[in-house]
């Protein structure tokens, strides 16, 4: 499955890109699995996602939990806790 991922803040810096389109293996079905897959894929992923509990996610603009399914999703954003205001 093709999926657009956007990265922000230090996740973006560690990944070295603001976003990418990935071709997801069939067994990566939810956000938690996506984060584990990115962490295992290469060195920059290992660095960015070393602490999955510090990663937050939004699917098509809505913040969501790590059990959110990926089927039919347009864009996933991965980032540290937000710090606006």
């Amino acid at each position: 499955m093709a999926l657009n991922i956007a990265y922000f803040s230090w996740v973006r810096e560690r990944m070295g890109v603001a976003g990418e389109m990935v071709d997801l293996p069939a067994d990566v079905g939810d956000l938690g699995a996506l984060i584990a897959w990115l962490a295992a894929r290469d060195g920059r992923g290992a660095l960015a996602f070393a602490e999955p509990n510090r990663i937050r996610a939004a699917i098509d603009g809505s913040m969501t939990g790590s059990d959110a399914p990926l089927a039919g999703v347009g864009e996933v954003a991965l980032f540290p806790p937000v710090t606006g205001g």
Partner: protein, 146 residues
């Protein structure tokens, strides 16, 4: 009237108060957050998501106006680079009654800190650059409203 803006231009407080139509409301409450020049801070940079940040602010604004009887709501957040003293965020609400205007301001600023896609990066005079960490207290304050 709901006005939401995510902007890289400086926030003009007086102009926003005028736009908000201050004259027509019984009670108005506001919150203004500015860059603090603590520890030799030279620049604060706010990273955002071009579409989602504004959508997140709009969702928050609508949640507040569903929850309280507001006659006007202004929510302006600056993004990009700013210097100490500059305004980061303006929250402005009006209602016939003071309790609603005050509660809505507090709700908006609390949730803004945990629900909207914005990230602060600090650059200091000595060259250090760091992403601001989430504060536990912010999480607790935001959860009061659930």
């Amino acid at each position: 009237m709901i006005r939401v803006s995510v902007q890289s231009a400086a926030i003009d407080i007086a102009a926003e108060f005028d736009l908000h139509d201050a004259g027509g409301h019984g009670a108005s409450a506001s919150f203004i957050g500015r860059v603090r020049g603590d520890d030799g801070l030279a620049e604060l940079f706010l990273e955002h998501h071009p579409q989602m940040t504004e959508a997140g602010l709009a969702a928050l604004a609508h949640a507040a106006s569903d929850r309280w009887k507001l006659s006007a709501l202004t929510l302006v957040h600056r993004v990009g680079a700013m210097a100490p003293g500059e305004t980061i965020v303006l929250v402005l609400t009006s209602s016939a009654h003071r309790a609603e205007a005050l509660a809505a301001v507090e709700y908006l600023i609390d949730r803004l800190k945990t629900d909207v896609m914005l990230w602060k990066r600090e650059s200091f005079a000595d060259g250090r650059v760091q992403w601001v960490e989430e504060r536990e207290g912010d999480q607790r304050r935001a959860e009061r409203w659930e």
